[in-house]
């Protein structure tokens, strides 16, 4: 009798439905400290470039590195006047390459991923596996044969030479396929077919809206990948008017070897180039469906 009553609360303790012992609310200091050290390490170069952008070319080498100077506006106007404002053109070019390339890439990846997830047809697995093997092909070693081939058709040093190779993204197709399989129910497609809708219409009006969150992720990945890509435009583009900002700054840095005054232009240029991407990144972070990448997507 007594044993029975005493065992009841003990058993309910094991029941996952009831709250367990109250979690202590104090902070775990060691893990917090380790993470903050990591955060400090990651922010250090960004903090440095912010401080360095406010200094004139001469005080850059003479004052303490994190001590701010008062020349931010002078540096900005130096950057704007350099080469008749070519820096802003580089920034616009980067936006064009990454924005247009990323959008078309997301659309092509979405259509392909949807088809691979929702249709059964001969050769489906073979096509998917070949596309997927593209992830493993060292993308960068492709740049040189791509250059030679595009040179044959006279497309090098055009916007196309950077845009076209950026559209195909095996990784994007892979993500879109996983997402389509989870987010687009077969019953909805069947219903649309019964209503007599054409396949293209079903994709555009039914599947595409359902896949939108996944496709935003694909777009963001491609946007960042194209924006960050250096080798492809470095190989393809020779006119400085078509450089993206990465290649533009690289050429400036190389000139800085002989003209150290250019260093302060490079530094403010670096700051201006990372700010939009960091802003975009912070603004859009809730649209990143990173569970897609880890393969942990839930419909």
């Amino acid at each position: 009798m007594t044993t029975l009553t005493s065992s009841v609360p003990a058993r309910s303790d094991l029941d996952p439905g009831t709250p367990r012992r109250r979690e202590p609310t104090r902070t775990a200091w060691l893990p917090t400290a380790v993470l903050l050290i990591g955060a400090f390490y990651c922010l250090l170069p960004v903090a440095w470039v912010v401080a360095a952008s406010t200094k004139s070319g001469s005080s850059l080498f003479t004052t303490f590195t994190f001590a701010p100077g008062g020349d931010l506006l002078d540096n900005l106007s130096d950057l704007s006047t350099y080469g008749d404002g070519i820096y802003w053109r580089w920034l616009a070019n980067s936006l064009l390459y990454a924005g247009v390339g990323g959008a078309i890439s997301a659309l092509v990846s979405g259509l392909s991923g949807y088809t691979l997830a929702k249709f059964r047809f001969p050769g489906r697995d073979a096509i998917f596996n070949v596309l997927l093997a593209g992830v493993l092909v060292p993308g960068v070693t492709l740049a040189i044969p791509q250059y030679l081939l595009l040179a044959k058709v006279g497309l090098t040093d055009t916007y196309w030479s950077v845009l076209l190779p950026s559209i195909i993204s095996p990784f994007g197709i892979y993500l879109a396929r996983i997402y389509a399989a989870a987010a687009v129910p077969d019953t909805v497609l069947e219903a649309a077919r019964t209503d007599g809708a054409g396949e293209l219409r079903i994709f555009g009006r039914v599947a595409l809206p359902m896949m939108l969150p996944g496709l935003v992720t694909v777009f963001l990945f491609q946007f960042v990948a194209i924006w960050n890509n250096f080798l492809l435009p470095f190989v393809m583009i020779s006119s400085d008017g078509r450089f993206p900002v990465t290649v533009g700054l690289f050429t400036l840095l190389n000139q800085g070897q002989t003209v150290p005054a250019l260093y302060s232009v490079v530094i403010i240029g670096v700051l201006v180039s990372i700010l939009p991407l960091i802003a975009l990144f912070l603004l859009l972070q809730r649209y990143w469906r990173l569970d897609l990448v880890s393969g942990a997507v839930k419909g």
Partner: protein
């Protein structure tokens, strides 16, 4: 899971063409910008230019079949081997540090009662938004003794000023840039898969008095294995292709040669030496090695990680 457009459809023949039409843009682009370049690189790697006479006349330079000669020359080139050795050393240092830190941060973010977790997560992920070229410039300036804060710190402590851009330490300087740029992305991938693990799995372990550390080592890390394998393969591929970072830091130091990594050697062969045939042969070798290493790694770990769970 996946549906079938079966013969039930009245537009039988037309609808059977639909999947191929939908895949056409991807297949065409893939063929033009992946398959064709690979094929062209292989073709070029088997060719060479034969110069007759003084090589000045119009038809004096002729492209002819070279067999495996370019490969023999590429593989006999000591510069290729030393650049390959450098990349292997670079990868051997980089991968454990970068993935180890990513795993550590992901596990710390996932444990309860961590302060400022959101701030740390964003800050560590932030470098992903910074292009490798820009990251190399930022660190490059931080490495320059004249502007480096590390010089100031060393002076305060009365230590000799570090100069990461000289001699053998330059490899660590490059590793650091790659760690900085890569740790956040890998951390987020691992953290996201940790979040997808249902919490009930931990309950009984916690009730048995399991500490957070034991929980991480005994339960979370084994469950993370598929994601760890994926991040390792992607990091491996990126490592073998390292190009931008050393090329950029090269602008600031003499310690990095123009053939410091295999990809830099390919670039310099193709564009500085104008020898696209030898560059193509080296490209094919690098692509082959990358495929063998990544497939080999996948095969090695497949049994433990993807046992029937894939797709």
């Amino acid at each position: 899971m996946s549906s079938a457009v079966t013969g039930r459809s009245r537009r039988g023949a037309a609808s059977r063409r639909v999947p191929y039409l939908f895949l056409a843009p991807a297949i065409v682009l893939f063929t033009l910008f992946v398959v064709l370049p690979i094929g062209y690189a292989i073709y070029l790697s088997l060719r060479k230019v034969k110069v007759s006479g003084l090589g000045l006349g119009r038809n004096s330079r002729k492209e002819i079949f070279a067999g495996l000669e370019n490969y023999r020359e590429a593989l006999a080139d000591p510069e290729l081997w030393s650049s390959a050795g450098r990349v292997l050393a670079y990868g051997a240092i980089l991968l454990p540090i970068m993935l180890g830190l990513a795993l550590l941060f992901a596990l710390l973010l996932d444990r309860p009662r961590v302060g400022l977790a959101r701030f740390s997560r964003l800050a560590i992920f932030l470098p992903y938004a910074v292009p490798g070229l820009i990251a190399s410039m930022l660190w490059g300036f931080l490495y320059l003794p004249a502007v480096s804060p590390f010089t100031n710190v060393a002076e305060w402590l009365g230590l000799p000023a570090p100069d990461p851009l000289t001699g053998n330490s330059v490899i660590f300087a490059i590793v650091n840039i790659a760690v900085w740029g890569g740790v956040g992305f890998n951390m987020i991938v691992l953290f996201t898969s940790l979040r997808a693990i249902p919490g009930e799995i931990y309950e009984s372990a916690l009730l048995d008095g399991c500490t957070q550390f034991q929980l991480a080592v005994r339960i979370k890390i084994p469950l993370l294995l598929p994601s760890l394998i994926m991040t390792t393969v992607f990091s491996l591929i990126a490592t073998l292709q390292v190009f931008t970072e050393p090329l950029t830091v090269r602008s600031l130091t003499n310690s990095i040669s123009s053939t410091w990594t295999p990809l830099m050697k390919i670039y310099s062969d193709a564009f500085a030496q104008n020898d696209i045939y030898s560059a193509a042969a080296t490209s094919v070798v690098i692509a082959g090695v990358t495929l063998v290493i990544s497939f080999g790694f996948l095969r090695l770990v497949q049994r433990q990680a993807f046992g029937g769970e894939h797709r």
